[in-house]
Symmetry: C2
Subunit: 591 residues, 2 copies
């Protein structure tokens, strides 16, 4: 694992896909640059509707919006409060096979499906996560879709957007400052300075801040201790923001955060420092969902961006709930592959919020399946139906896993121009064996015209009564058994291997009264196992559990299997060096 | 100097003034709570106009605004570009006597004067600095005026506002991360890790971050070195943002920032790290001036918040210029007392930008003059005309200093309910001796009705032709002579005492080609001398110059005389503990 992995959530680099796609299919007659043009060129050529007109598609009136410029807005708290109790629309989850460097296109499929549903006349909306600002200047690559399936204004969304990440940073660091201030003034709570687990955060890729000593310079400048910084998306506050039902719930959860241990071992919470109120004040606006639009003017809620390993990796509950109250069909995505992202979507978000999707779309590409089938990256351009068939075992496991939750499943094949017909047939055969429907979608090149077939199938699926969701474990199972259930039923593991430290921690959390929480497993996204080299279908492995962390405010126990990077670094040549304002003041180099 | 000084710029605590003012004068018939009610109660009872209607008072059309909610907006870059070349209105600077804990009321006078001018039918606007978020949760006290002279929406202005401070934080820390990333990847620029002067910033009072060691934990985690954090308002980027004429100037200045020395001693600039473009992209929106309103709906530009000691302490040039293009009379304020704030306003901002105020208002209160006259703080409630007369020597020096710049001067006495008539007469006598006009202003209690007399006088003064500005020193004087000129002519010092280190630094900056820059003197705001205990009129002292810093991007040389706090701490009981959301989601405890 390099230390500068792209962390625009789990989005793979899409530059290669763009290059390969350069031999375009038919160009949509929408006045935009042809498929294969840079995403930013397409995004800039689009004419956004005033955000009030986008909102009007969902019946939202201008006074219910807080505008941010002319093409972004937040829903007011008064308005989202008033939505509570409205009958919800249907929820569609977009997830994917195990990620590969070839790219699967989960976000473009989410956007394309939303546009396809709109094209068919449905009142549709999409819900996505917000990208993190920091990695934008480290690794190249935005996080607002691509091709004809993008959300706009792309530059704003990739930069400060409506300030939500900054609010999380402020609230997080206020709590950290209050801890050190408490130490400075006599430490009445008897906090053990060696056991402060609350770090600071910054939305920048800055490896030199991972491990620090702070409070140096003498008695006027704090109590010396070890500390560190994570990137903002890794903050528990981001997870809390995304799971809170309303402002009161937000403030309550913030108070529950465990920041340190006393010398006697008992936990110190944010509310012991009287911090939760000021933090909630800082996050008040950030809790309000953001509304933007796709290139085709479908309403898009982009709100909240928690990690998909140490957190649950989906957009905010506030956004999902608001969208469901306003639209007939809401398309949302979960992080990474279905083993991590969809699992957490169900076992954490749906469990806490009582949501049930009416359909799940699993995104795959022939290229990614070939990688899972053992093809080397530089041979991806050659047709290889056998490799597709081998790689489809990865897809099969994900489909079986999703059926485990009791939800209807559909496979969406994200089309690339150089896809081979025999490969498509090989995949069709694999899907036939599974008894799962497969739809090829050309949203990247053609927008909603290319996703119409997918949208038709999804619209038909959600006509059925909402299924009854089968979660992987009950609340009252032990934390260890919860981890084992996920590992065995979803990862295909023979068992889990709890290291003594992890065992002690899980036992302690149960003793503290947190045994009822769901688990949030942090492992590599590149394999069903904990070893990222085991692509395809790993089976019969033992999942090593190194340690655990209690996210008492977010309401889950993080279970750490392998090395998880919480503060990325930048590569030798950071993306920032190519980004600047041109003489006309336009942004160059951001993509 | 305690380490948790209030740093909402230089605003004194106003709680005491509020309490003393509780015996109100006549209540304005405006439907708001009576004078003496908490500022927040008055601000909340006001009905803001939609920001488009406020903008319309200046002839701004809705499409020229970027709204942030319904009562805040930025002017678009296209619009401010188009304003260049319009004949400017008249500029009025509000400054003050040497600050005291009693409070002078510079911001309320600025707001009140703007409202008074509006009341008289002038097309008026005010320009103020943005408050820093961090100190809001440390020391109590907002920075949006008070009583009937406030800007709204007060809570937003004191919190994230339009995100400008967050943008400065991001750009600053991106540059810091690029430096450490450069060290990590082989240090091709041969940066001396011991001589990196660019710190990181955070908008939180967090003393434990003043002195750190970073890059710990092994070779994957950076190069170990000493580092530190300042508060965001102390960033050179804040000064750059406030002095930049446009986006191109911003990007150029960012590239000029000197971040470190090579091992051979030569400076390393931000542009050597190819950082300025990405930083400018992060600051693009932040450079656009923010428009809000006073309680009486006078347009208020609140934009940029640099320190008034290590930087020049005024709102952005973009805001001042835009306001002058749009309004007939623009009222702005400078930081601290006139010796620091007005001096820098003239010698730095006006020098760089070619501005000349048509009138200068010096704010004083009887209470503050009594403190300068030697009265103890707990005896301020007792009438003491003699102390006022003694304290007026402080006022006299400031008036004389301002006349040195060639601008017409007026004294505004910010009225308090318990002011004594004989004290007012004593001050009148002192002003008569000086030959300076004195106007009592009751804007705090009465709004524009109370400031009408002041506004009438100011409106009459700006009718005269704009004076010719006499700066304190020429560009081509040596840096040492520039410091000496300010110290002798404005502080009444006998001479300056350059410590050897400071002398070496000034000589080096001249050798590097920066000898033409103005100097920015960082000393205590509580005295004409470098010793804060020397209130009243310090004379014949020697100003000790400890060290100097080159702000090559901002375009001045900081000259440090005494201890300057760049990262405040929090008190034992931080203000945050009283701030929270009430059950209805309203903010409690922020004032």
């Amino acid at each position: 694992m390099t230390d500068y992995l792209p962390l625009r959530h789990d989005k793979p680099l899409c530059g290669e896909g763009v290059a390969l796609e350069a031999a375009p299919g038919p160009s949509p007659d929408d006045g935009l640059p042809p498929p294969g043009a840079p995403d930013i060129a397409i995004a800039r050529a689009a004419t956004p509707w005033p955000i009030g007109e986008v909102a009007a598609r969902l019946g939202i009136e201008p006074r219910q919006l807080l505008p941010y410029g002319h093409d972004k807005a937040k829903l007011s708290h008064d308005f989202t409060d008033a939505l509570v109790g409205r009958p919800p629309g249907k929820l569609v989850l977009v997830t994917a096979i195990t990620p590969t460097p070839a790219g699967e296109g989960k976000t473009t499929t989410t956007v394309g499906l939303g546009d396809g549903l709109s094209r068919l006349g449905h009142k549709a909306a999409v819900c996505l996560r917000e990208p993190s600002l920091g990695p934008c200047f480290g690794m190249k690559g935005g996080a607002a879709g691509g091709g004809r399936s993008q959300v706009i204004p792309m530059e704003d969304i990739n930069l400060h957007f409506t300030g939500d990440f900054h609010a999380v940073t402020s609230a997080h660091n206020l709590l950290a400052a209050l801890i050190d201030n408490h130490l400075q003034w006599g430490n009445a709570l008897d906090i053990d300075p060696r056991r402060i687990s609350w770090k600071r955060v910054m939305d920048i890729n800055d490896r030199a801040l991972r491990h620090l000593t702070i409070g140096l310079g003498g008695p006027a400048h704090g109590v010396p201790r070890e500390a560190g910084f994570d990137i903002t998306a890794a903050s528990e506050i981001m997870a809390i923001l995304c799971l809170s039902a309303d402002l009161a719930d937000l403030q309550r959860r913030l108070g529950e955060i465990i920041v340190a241990r006393r010398r006697n071992g008992s936990p110190v919470r944010a509310r012991d420092l009287e911090a939760e109120g000021a933090m909630a004040v800082l996050l008040k606006e950030a809790l309000a969902p953001n509304l933007v639009q796709t290139l085709e003017h479908t309403p898009a809620f982009i709100h909240g961006g928690p990690f998909a390993n140490i957190a649950h990796g989906c957009n905010s509950l506030m956004a999902t709930r608001s969208a469901l109250s306003l639209a007939d069909i809401v398309v949302t995505e979960a992080g990474f592959g279905a083993d991590l992202g969809a699992e957490k979507f169900f076992n954490i978000k749906c469990r806490q919020a009582g949501l049930t999707p009416s359909a799940v779309v699993v995104v795959a590409t022939l290229r990614a399946l070939k990688l899972h089938g053992g093809v080397e990256r530089d041979a991806l351009g050659l047709p290889d139906p056998e490799a597709v068939r081998r790689g489809a075992r990865n897809l099969s496991r994900h489909v079986a896993n999703l059926r485990h939750f009791g939800v209807p499943v559909l496979v969406a094949v994200n089309h690339f121009a150089q896809d081979d017909d025999q490969e498509h047939q090989a995949l069709q055969a694999a899907c036939d064996e599974l008894g799962v429907e497969r739809v090829v979608s050309r949203h990247w090149a053609e927008g909603s015209r290319g996703s119409e077939a997918l949208a038709e199938r999804v619209a038909a699926m959600v006509e059925a009564p909402t299924p009854s969701l089968a979660l992987t474990y009950e609340d009252d199972a032990s934390l260890e058994d919860k981890v084992r259930a996920v590992a065995q039923r979803l990862y295909g593991a023979a068992d889990i291997g709890l290291e003594p430290r992890a065992r002690r921690q899980l036992e302690e959390y149960e003793a503290l009264g947190y045994g009822h929480l769901p688990v949030c497993i942090a492992k590599t996204q590149y394999s069903f196992a904990a070893d990222p080299a085991l692509t395809g279908l790993a089976e019969g492995h033992v999942l090593p559990v190194r340690e655990a962390e209690l996210a008492a405010g977010a309401g889950f126990v993080v279970v750490i299997c392998g090395d998880i990077m919480r503060m990325p670094g930048m590569p030798r040549q950071p993306a920032s060096s190519g980004i600047r304002l041109d003489p006309g003041g336009e942004i160059e180099g951001l993509s």
